[in-house]
């Protein structure tokens, strides 16, 4: 459909706009602006092209100056880039958000119980709800942490779950990120940019704030201070792999927002199973570490001995109950895409509830029947490696070459445990500025869920947009951009 021409003399910036055959976030099938977008539609529709352009340029310049960047690996042309930002906000009405919030809280509650169980009694395996071999063969299952009691039983302090909407606008969970999810800093920076660019629209739209994310995060981190800590005001630090990490901007941003030190492995020392930070005033005891380093690199004594990023002895201090790590070690098991398949069962098993947010239909290559189906339909399916993220290690069947399909066929036959497949989802689209005017581009949503004394979801998140026409890949490392996400107090 095409949005009906405006009767006014000046044509709206939003015309013409073609929703195609997709679910469009802003326009209903009949071309009407959805109620949640009425303020945004009126305001942006009235803007002159030049004004819009000026605002976009101002925001881009601010991001560049502010150093809001990320790093692309395996890229030859200067690796640090700004994360392209689109001014047209993604709007979510209160009634939709209520469902998302309840669904995300339910999911993380269950996943936390799952992690606790897997590293203790393993009831879910003994009762045959998940075949044991899937867990015990998982790359990120850490036998070293069997029977280890984590502070306050919180395994996942920070979770970034990726949601998509299908052809009918139904929200689906695409994946859970339970290790070191990134992107929260962009959520906050995007909001600041929007407030500067559209102060009056922002005021009138009644948008829920995201700015206290950093304070909420700090509270969650402090909540898990181990009982062995020596003071009432725990010392929390952010442990970064360093300036070469793709998310280094975010590490500095969050550390600054929380008012905590940012440290590298070499800044920390362990003595008699306690962690200290080297400072000019001498060693300072550390109680909680928000680590943005993967398990494998955390402590060369226990994990990869060739790693120079981590802190020797850190795991011993953790074991002794003298320091807390966020997220805990071993959460990656629940990131395994084979475990994703089982999350609806996990929710049912621990909570006795039906999942509020459904999964995408998934086939497991290690189940014979599923594998036969996958191998016969490779050209129609999306195939994913069980333990890759960021859009790497994926086959998009309908768009893949014959050679790519055959390569995946061989890999699946060789190691079926490592692959799942899903039907391609026709992701919802959102009006996005594309140089000349607004065009529909596919989007997803990564909300941030924090777990401290209770689980909370920051009202908003990172809406990622696939900027290339027709592309379904929203990852920043592969040509994605972002939008601010406005969760409204009301429904319009």
């Amino acid at each position: 459909m095409t949005a009906p021409a405006s009767p006014a003399a000046t044509r709206s910036l939003l015309e013409p706009y073609d929703t195609g055959s997709y679910f469009d976030e802003m326009f209903a099938r009949d071309g009407a602006v959805r109620p949640a977008y009425s303020k945004v539609g009126q305001h942006l529709g009235r803007l002159a092209r030049e004004d819009y352009f000026k605002k976009q340029t101002a925001v881009d310049v601010a991001f560049m100056r502010g150093g809001v960047t990320f790093t692309v690996y395996n890229d030859n042309q200067g690796t640090e880039r700004i994360f392209p930002f689109d001014l047209m906000p993604r709007v979510i009405p209160a009634k939709e958000w209520e469902v998302l919030e309840a669904g995300l809280i339910q999911r993380l509650t269950a996943l936390n119980l799952f992690l606790r169980d897997i590293y203790h009694e393993q009831r879910i395996l003994k009762e045959g709800v998940i075949p044991a071999h899937y867990v015990l063969s998982a790359r990120h299952f850490r036998r070293e942490f069997m029977n280890f009691k984590v502070p306050k039983d919180v395994y996942v302090h920070i979770c970034g779950t990726d949601l998509i909407r299908d052809h009918d606008g139904r929200y689906l969970v695409l994946e859970d990120n339970l290790r070191c999810p990134s992107g929260a800093s962009y959520m906050i920076e995007n909001r600041a940019a929007m407030k500067r660019a559209f102060p009056s629209l922002y005021q009138s739209a009644k948008v829920r704030p995201v700015e206290n994310y950093a304070q909420e995060l700090l509270k969650s981190l402090q909540y898990t201070t181990p009982t062995g800590a020596r003071s009432d005001s725990p010392t929390v630090v952010l442990l970064t792999p360093g300036v070469h990490n793709s998310a280094y901007f975010e590490h500095t941003f969050l550390a600054r927002s929380m008012g905590i030190p940012i440290v590298e492995g070499r800044d920390l020392i362990v003595k008699d199973a306690r962690v200290y930070m080297r400072t000019v005033a001498g060693p300072v005891p550390v109680d909680v570490i928000y680590r943005r380093i993967d398990d494998d690199f955390l402590d060369p004594t226990v994990f990869r001995s060739d790693s120079l990023l981590g802190v020797p002895g850190l795991v011993q201090a953790y074991r002794a109950g003298n320091v807390s790590l966020a997220n805990t070690i071993g959460t990656g098991i629940a990131d395994d895409k084979v475990m994703y398949y089982f999350v609806p069962r996990i929710i049912k098993f621990y909570l006795g509830e039906e999942p509020i947010l459904p999964n995408v239909d998934t086939f497991l290559a290690s189940e014979e029947k599923d594998r036969t189906y996958i191998l016969e339909n490779l050209a129609k399916l999306v195939v994913k490696s069980a333990n890759e993220a960021g859009g790497y290690g994926m086959l998009m069947g309908p768009w893949a070459s014959k050679a790519e399909i055959e390569q995946f066929r061989a890999m699946i036959i060789d190691n079926p445990r490592n692959f799942i497949a899903q039907p391609p989802i026709s992701l919802s689209r959102h009006p996005t500025w594309c140089g000349e005017g607004f065009e529909g581009r596919h989007i997803d949503l990564r909300p941030y869920i924090l777990c401290g004394d209770k689980i909370t979801v920051t009202p908003g998140g990172l809406t990622r947009v696939a900027l290339r026409k027709g592309s379904l890949v929203v990852n920043s490392s592969q040509g994605g951009g972002s939008k601010d996400t406005w969760v409204l107090h009301g429904d319009e």
Partner: protein, 298 residues
């Protein structure tokens, strides 16, 4: 690092059990001062149906505060750090263990592999059927299993023993043929090794046949030991028999371990039970000395 006792045939009569004292010293001499040494040791004997660790002392020099936890396989791990500069590290474990005769399966008991088809059991024995870092399930193992026991396992215990006897007769005992990091595929090539290699090969064969098997480290008291014989730690294998439990078999000596055996730790393979492991900052180790004494206690 474990070496093996030389094979010896003596089998003591042991209807009642014994008390055994073990002293196990590991001494690291470094090339100059080292710092930030973080260590984990698995040197405390297990307590289970067939043995109790009555006393255990871990002596560390330089002195350090050792803490403990129980690992995935139920082994008691001591961990400690020595952060100040030192040129030598001594880890001495002294234990007193009381052993009892193992339970025996009832006469005529059989263990068909179909007993393994049970979800609780499969959660418990996945690790002992799957490949592990020292025991990759190479295709040659499968061939060898077929030569020894044919295409199907009839009885988990009887077939495991046949595989163990096969290891005993086809592997030459040779203290210098292999290193601590030798994997089972190399043992298949060289056809020689120490107790660790005998155990790894038997694990590989059992697992390839679908018989759950795990690695056990420990010691054994050799009552006929000649005074010049070097003592060291030992390794053997345990087989899971559903409805009965784990039952030991020592492929180096072709026998079921008796009350002269002391179990230290168990796991998928040597990688899970390293007696001493750790890291430090410094210029490397000049020499490592291991002394083991296993004696009957009065």
């Amino acid at each position: 690092m474990p070496d093996s006792t030389t094979p010896s045939a003596a089998e003591p009569a042991d209807a009642t059990g014994q008390r055994i004292r073990v002293r196990h010293l590991t001494r690291f001499c470094y090339n100059g001062p080292v710092t930030d040494s973080f260590n984990e040791v698995r040197l405390q004997p297990l307590s289970d149906d067939s043995q109790s660790c009555v006393r255990f002392t871990l002596n560390l020099a330089p002195a350090a505060n050792a803490r403990t936890y129980d690992d995935f396989h139920g082994n008691r791990v001591h961990y400690f750090d020595v952060t100040a500069p030192h040129e030598q590290l001594d880890i001495e474990a002294v234990s007193l263990v009381s052993t009892r005769p193992d339970r025996q399966p009832p006469p005529g008991a059989s263990f068909p592999p179909s007993l393994l088809d049970d979800p609780i059991l499969s959660a418990g024995c996945f690790d002992f059927l799957a490949a592990s870092s020292y025991v990759p399930l190479a295709v040659q193992l499968r061939h060898e299993v077929r030569q020894v026991i044919g295409d199907t396992v009839h009885d988990l215990w009887a077939d495991a023993v046949r595989l163990g006897e096969h290891v005993h007769t086809t592997l030459a005992y040779s203290p210098n043929a292999t290193k601590v990091n030798t994997r089972v595929v190399d043992v298949l090539e060289s056809r020689s090794g120490v107790c660790q290699d005998f155990a790894h090969l038997m694990l590989g064969l059992c697992r390839s046949a679908g018989i759950p098997a795990r690695y056990v480290s420990g010691y054994f008291l050799n009552p006929t030991r000649r005074s010049e014989e070097i003592e060291a730690s030992h390794a053997w294998v345990e087989i899971l028999l559903p409805g009965f439990g784990w039952r030991g078999y020592d492929p180096t000596h072709r026998r079921v371990p008796g009350t002269n055996y002391v179990k230290l730790a168990r796991g998928r393979d040597y990688g899970d039970i390293r007696p001493v492991s750790g890291t430090f900052r410094g210029r490397g180790t000049r020499e490592m000395i291991v002394e083991v004494q296993v004696r009957a206690a009065e």
